[in-house]
Each structure stands twice: as C-alpha cells, then as structure tokens.
C-alpha cells in the first residue's frame, strides 16, 4: 500500500503517459488531447451561435469528457486519498530562485501565495488564475492543441506542426518565466 503514497519517478511516469496514445487509438480509435474538451464545453453552450462551436459535441466529445471526469477522479485518488505528505523534491536552485521572487509556501503541488482562494484577492494571484487560465485556453485552441495533443500525440506521430507548436510553448514559457513573472511577483 505504501507505494500508492509515494511519488512516481519520471522514468516510470513518462512511458505510462506515452501509452495513453496507443491505448486510446486501439481501444477506441481516438486521438489523445485534453484541450478539445474546452471546445466541447463552449459547443455545449454556444451563446451567440459561433460557427467554430457549431458541431455535434456529444458525438465528438462524450468520450473525451468522460476521460476528463476520469482524470478528476484520478486526481482525487492520487492527490487526496493517497496524498504524499512530503514536499516535492525540487532542485535547490529552483527553490532559491523562487524564494528570491517572494514565494514562501513549498508544501504542496502549488504555492498558496499564488494559487488559493485567498490569493485570488491579490493582484498576483488574480493574474495567475484568471489570465493564466485564459491564455491556456485561448492559446491551446489557436495552436490546435495543448501539451497532450501536440507535445505527446502530435510528436508521437512525427508531425512537424506539433513540433512547431511545442517550440511556441517554450518561447511563451521562457518569456513568462524569465521576463514577465519577475514583474508580477
């Protein structure tokens, strides 16, 4: 039982995540990609009858939304029921860099300084939660996929488009980490 509480090493987690691609292809003929669900959510409401959301989202997306509900349950089991009590074993240089930026809480998956209901009342927390989420949703659909659809599925199929998107992910990520985050914190 103890193993359920332990963090999973990267060399175990990576192959399992990679197997999601053939498992979904073989067991359902489906292409792995999480952010399509955000589009299905828009299609389910579609205020204003936007053309991009005019499709049969139930037919296209029920399987994926079910997958997503499964991920929430998996998160509950892994992060609530069998939660690892120890803080994450981060690189010392990351911790000192983040401390220099003013991060004080290293106890969980996310810093309470930025990601909590209390932080939502601060300018930094509001920016992280609202703007961060918005750009993830906007950018994923603009690029036609997120980390799962491009970095995992697309690269698995050796698609040049996905490699281009992943380069984009890193352009944005590095700009945020080194130039913009120091201004927010």
């Amino acid at each position: 039982m103890d193993i359920l509480y332990q963090p999973m090493p990267w060399y175990v987690a990576g192959p399992i995540i990679g197997l999601t691609v053939p498992v979904l292809l073989i067991l359902g003929g489906k292409m792995f990609g999480v952010s399509a669900n955000l589009r299905h959510a828009c299609a389910a409401c579609n205020f204003g009858n936007v053309e991009f959301f005019n499709y049969d989202w139930k037919k296209a997306g029920y399987w994926n939304l079910t997958f997503l509900i499964g991920s929430v349950i998996g998160g509950f089991l892994g992060g609530y029921v069998f939660v690892n009590p120890d803080p994450i074993d981060l690189a010392a240089s990351t911790i000192s860099d983040l401390q220099a930026l003013g991060i004080t809480d290293f106890s969980g998956f996310v810093p309470n300084d930025l990601i909590s209901w209390e932080a939502l009342g601060t300018p930094a927390g509001l920016t992280v939660l609202i703007l961060g989420g918005f750009m993830v949703g906007f950018g994923a659909r603009y690029a036609g996929g997120c980390t799962s659809g491009h970095a995992i599925s697309g690269l698995s199929d050796l698609q040049l488009a996905s490699l281009t998107a992943v380069i984009g992910f890193f352009i944005g990520g590095l700009l945020m980490t080194y130039l913009i985050y120091p201004l927010i914190l």
Partner: protein, 141 residues
Amino acid sequence: MKFFEYLKYLLIGLAFGFVLIKSEVVSWFRIQEMFRFDSIHMYGIIGLAVVVGIISVQIIKRKNIKDNKGNPITIPPKDASQWKRYIIGGSIFGLGWALLGACPGPMFALLGSGITVMVVPILSAIAGTYAYGLLRDSLPH
C-alpha cells in the same frame, strides 16, 4: 454496451490523472523547474512519453492494427504550413502554461486533488477558448 464503452474512457482518464499527480507533472513548481532547466524531471517524462508514443504509432501503422470496432486507425495530419498559428498560438499557450503552472490535463487533476480554486482557471480557459472561436477569422493562421 454504451456503459462499458464509457467506463473504458473513465478508467483510462483515471489512470492518466493519477499518474499526472503522482509524477508531480501537475505541480506549478515542477513547471518552474522545467522552464529554468534545473532538473531532468519534466523533460524525462515528456521525452519518454514521446519515445513510447512514436514506437507505438509506428507499430500501429506498419502492422495495420485495427481499433476495437475493426476500423483502420488513421491519424489526421496537421497542416504544418499554417506555421503562424502554431508559433503564435503556441507562444500564448506557453505564456499561460508558465504563468498558471498547469496545462489543461493537470488543471482538472488538481481540481480532483482538492485544490478547488482551479475552478477559476478552468472557467477562464473555457472563456479563452470561446474568445478564440469569436476572433478566429481575424487572427493569422
């Protein structure tokens, strides 16, 4: 049976969410560590996932493996000539990924782990998706 059809996706999603949490991919700190090039952790996970994915997809294609309904497995190619959407859209995604410290899968796994405030970025991401749908025709692709 419809029920088992969906149960299958629920269980695959459950395994995915569980592994995202246990490997700490969901952690804002791990994403910071990745963009600071301080650890192999995230690169190892994504790299090995891609290696396993490439080998699997090649086997599926070369052996003409069929899906559960007996249909040939086809992966629709993405149009790489639309490089603007991948670079610009990808960069906007990357800005959000580093800012929030979570991409779509982890956002939902974190919600399940009890970090209820993740509802806010999830709704915000749906709003962002909706905004893209509205603006799509006026954006470079």
